[in-house]
Amino acid sequence: MVLKRFTKMETKSVNDLVFGQAANPVEYGFDVKLGVGEVIPNIKVAPAEGSETSVEGMVATCKNIAFSACDRAAAIGLPTLQIEQEHVAQQTKSAEISAKTTAVQVEQLEELHDKYGTKASLMSTIADIREEDMGGLRGSDFDVKMDESFEACAENGASILCVETIGGKVVSDYGIARGDIRAILYGIGVLGSIDMGYMWPKIVDIASKYDYCVPGGDTDCAQANTAMFLGGGLTSKNVSHTLAAITRAIAGARSLVAIECGATGPTKDCGYENPIVKAIGGVPICAEGKNATCAHSDLMGNLAAAVVDCWSNESVYNREEMGGPTTGVWLQSLGYECALMNTATKMGEEETLRDMYTLADKYRDPQALVIAYDNAYRIGESIVADGEDIYLRSRAAALEACDIINEAVDAKKMYLTRFERDTLDSAQKTIEQLPEEQDKFVKTCIKRYGRKVKEHDPSQYEL
């Protein structure tokens, strides 16, 4: 399949990048419309431990989650409810479980829609159960099982199909732990993009068969989020936050591939690179931040909301709080944040709120800085300038991120530790010295990482 690469920006101006609005809106589920103004909550709850051991267990836990979500949505007057079912491996491996867990949640959402008129939808995120060194990425049993799971979900009423593909992870993991930007660029920009080009046409085909269903998007969870999570807080001492910032910019070039294959958004919540994808592709995005602290800590809890269309809590244990089931607790926090955004939009002050969200974090950390919507737009422009070549555009994104950080440092807005400063300088120097041709770069990388990363198998990427 020859992809239509983006070579210009779908979002015409940086100021058009704002929550709730997208150049290319999308409709799905029970009357949900994204990109035309409203921001909606996306609640996600992890199946309780032990529930994975039987079909009935999985169905019961999924029903429980959907019931509690619908109950709270009605209790507090939410205009729209989206549930995300992020598969555990056991779900994806069984078409029966995929079908039944989807059906039971869709049923609850339909009841809510019928009784109250609430707009409602279900995002089904299939687990990427493939392994590069065990079975392989293409045509393996697990690859086939994933196709079957996508089909089962769509057939049973899923509104959106998503996935977090893992192509290139074995190499980027190596690079992230060692601060090796070349490995990161190869793992994410090249290998990740190639693997998405294999997976996404299949997903788009399946979704297109059902009028209530759309192909959502992908996230670089397996790679850029590994850098972010290991990067941790300001006082952590693992991965450099400037390196994590560059990694995020590269992820923008990668996650765009889903859209190039026909995905329409909403993309996946944990893709902190989504502002770049939205800037280029004009699709509505999911995002998570200050109301996803149940799942992880980031340094951009407000900024992540600046251009969101679907606001998520990422994940939480399914159990009871004093304030009720965690499903209701976190949905309510999300729903109220959406209400704030939707109020700003009605007031005609959405740009003001967007700018508040952004400035609340822009200089908290370099990782926040590079995905601040104005900088995300800049990175987007650097990507489309080299849009036809997945390697060159990833490299351009990385260099643009370096420039953005350096400019902020020069303007005395951003301050770096020595570690952050050193790793930024060294990464920038390395990138600048990389070859101008994809072939040459790939050849060097295969030689270098074929040896250092024993799980890496270039043939899985047709390299």
């Binding site: 009605a74 939410l78 205009p79 005609g348």
Partner: protein, 281 residues
Amino acid sequence: MSESPLKKYDEAVFADNGYDDIAIRYNVKIEGPALKPEDDPEVAEILPQEEGVKRDLALTVLYGDKEECDAQVQAALDAGEDPIDLINNALMKGMDGVSALYTKGEFFLPDLMLAGDAMMSGVALCEEKLGHKSDTKAPVMTFAVEGDPHDIGKNLIVMFLNANGYDAVDLGRDVPTAEVVKQAQENEPVLMTATALMTTTMTEFAKIAAALQEAGIDTPIGCGGGAVRRDFVEESPQTFYGVEAYHVPKLADAIVDDGKTWEDIRNEYSDIVGEYVAAYS
């Protein structure tokens, strides 16, 4: 005072789809047409059909009018009506109607409380005439645990029990464990409910269960309240987690009518109370 700074946004906020773009008052949105309570088909079935003293009395309960209820009960008793008949076929029927409307979402807590006050007062007058307590389904003991001065949840339970023909033995609030054991020995309840508001008072549940076991009393203990969670409750034997006050009479019915144990209740809670309960699935 000066004009509200919010005034300038009124036009924008109420444009187009109006406030529904922000929040929807679903309670208003789904409200059906107004109906007199006695005209509700289900209530019409429950109330005495025949015009007369028993229907009138049921209606005073339905409307929560304690003074009128007292007056009518007294008049009926003076006119020679059978007090047992009045309790079972007038006062309790009115209360059943109230419960039905509450379940449907047509009636609310104050309706229940005022109807309960009227019904209990009428029953007391009848019992005075009888010279002894009227029959109840069974005794159920209620209390807020030691250290817990909050009792509004427990008071709701008492009201639901009385309304459903149980003898609610209310020990009050901040009740020491020894007192619970002593009262359980005296009253032999079929069920007891222990309520707690805080994480540091719900630990009393375990102590109560242990003390009862030592005394050889295996009455199921329904535990609930503010900070209480099912997983914590189920760490003690003999207990189960109670979710809503209005579930209590149904749980008592399951014990009295079907011989359910506390283990059964843990396993069949949703079925017993007849609705989907998230904490039990």
